[in-house]
Amino acid sequence: MHGTLGDFRTWYSVLGPLSRKHRVIAVSLRHFFPEHFDGIATDHYRMAQHVADTIAFIEQITPKPVDLMGHSRGGHIAFRIAQQRPDLVRKVVLAEPGGDLDSSLDPTVTPGAPSALAARMLISVKKVRDGDIDGALQNFVDLIDGDNAWRRLPAAAKQQLRDNIFTLLGQVHEARKPYSKADMQAIRTPTLLIGGADTTGSLSTIWRVMSEHIAGARTAVIPNARHWMFENDPQEFCRVVMEFLAGWKRTISRAAFPLAGGEGSVGVGQA
């Protein structure tokens, strides 16, 4: 499951290593490329719609249950599916899942107020409406990966984001609920949380909070990587994912399942 401004191509850099051991199904969510969405009729760009679409998609796959991996906003979707339909999911991999924490997880939160990230995303939305597509993309990418991140992106990677730019006009109304402690405690699916060691802001926080509240969650940090950590280091990303998927016990002991990936790693799983 790709994230904001992504599509099935998001996973191109890891298809090779992962498909040596697994069948990989890379979806494009409703309104993302290859759909050429104009951003006008946004009623169906909702978090709940994308969750429902993906559940319906998995129901048509054989064999089930599937292993589900989501990046960023796609990680949010994967989390919600594991929460709502644990029968469909064998294991779940969340790579810097997106979203906000509610007051049960962060006492400083004011209910209903937009997060800092969401507020700055509105700048991109305004730029799209004004026709400044590359300005919108620069604001978005720099917001997440730091100043100059957009300028440093290869032109090919820029174009794939550009192809999905009008989905941002839907995303502002997507009605994404914040995570609660009860949401996280409800996850029973074996979970791997992956972060980039150099990611900053809320995207570097949410998965660490999840690791404290999802029972038995494993964690892995990709050194020298940021939010698009699987593009920053495809080999290391694939190594931790495949190690996680290969473990067959539902609860895995810490010793039997070392995911520590170097000095950037945080604690490896908590019962």
Binding site: L15, A155, K158, E231
Partner: protein, 271 residues
């Protein structure tokens, strides 16, 4: 992935975009696969159905480098059989680098299968009818490519790729490549083992003059060496041809300037 059974194997392809005329069939070059076109399928599918194939032995196949079925002749046979089996009528055919060579040979042998032809810096050599300085024999680069192939066969994939990429694009180029661009090359590394055994015939004047369909040559304005010489010479002898050079780009011109490249292709296909 979707596949078509041709010449005894399942040829994988990505089929994207709505059919509104002949499909545009895209053939990748050395060390690439169907994914290389990912940066232009957004703009191009606004007007065309695209079919991006992976040639025999390229990803998603995991090839061991053994056997004699990696050759220009085999790949040309495979593309011809693919178009026949696709049964969508004549197609527009686009090839990059070695894929441009294959596309040229398809056009030469089976003009009935094609409507228009796009050659983005086709790979190959010019024989004595096109280049009075031609001496015959193996490419001067073959000895260096053989060193790359031997390293890859011995398991030193990154060492072999570094030697190959730096030979073509200058010392230090591999190290500077973003990780997300290195990984697809790794996924196809074993094809270099086949490629050093691939004796491809040089282009002749008669070959070029036999291409009758509307043909577009696309080059990177900053590409050096044999590639622009071959492009300009073929363009001078293919009767119904146009040439477009994209400023500030080199051999992977569509990755470096996806928007400019797509505009040129869309113009040509619409004209």
């Amino acid at each position: 992935m979707q596949t078509v059974h041709v010449n005894g194997y399942d040829m994988a392809y990505l089929d994207v975009g709505e059919a509104r005329g002949p499909p545009l069939l895209c053939v990748h070059g050395s060390l690439n696969d169907f994914r290389i076109w990912g940066c232009v399928i957004g703009p191009l599918t606004t007007k065309h159905r695209l079919i991006c194939v992976s040639l025999r032995h390229f990803f998603p196949e995991q090839w061991d480098g053994k056997g004699d079925t990696y050759s220009i002749a085999q790949h040309t046979d495979d593309v011809i059989a693919f178009i026949e089996k696709l049964n969508a009528g004549p197609v527009d055919l686009m090839g990059h680098s070695r894929g441009g060579h294959i596309s040229f040979r398809v056009a030469q042998r089976r003009p009935d299968l094609l409507r228009r032809l796009i050659l983005a810096e086709p790979g190959g050599e010019l024989d004595a009818t096109l280049d009075p300085g031609y001496e015959g024999g193996p490419s001067p680069l073959l000895a260096r490519f053989t060193i790359s192939a031997d390293r890859i066969a011995a398991g030193d994939v990154d060492g072999g790729l570094e030697f190959f990429v730096d030979t073509l694009e200058g010392a230090g180029r591999w190290q500077r490549l973003p990780a997300l661009m290195k990984q697809p090359l790794r996924d196809n590394a074993t094809t270099l083992i086949g490629q050093v055994r691939d004796g491809r015939p040089a282009f002749s004047k008669a070959d070029a003059e036999s291409i009758r369909m509307p043909t577009l040559f696309i080059g990177g304005a900053n590409t050096r060496g044999l590639l622009p010489k071959v492009l300009n010479t073929l363009a001078a002898h293919v009767p119904n041809s146009k040439t477009a050079m994209i400023p500030n780009t080199t051999h992977p011109m569509f990755e470096q300037a996806p928007q400019a490249f797509s505009e040129i292709v869309l113009d040509f296909l619409a004209g």
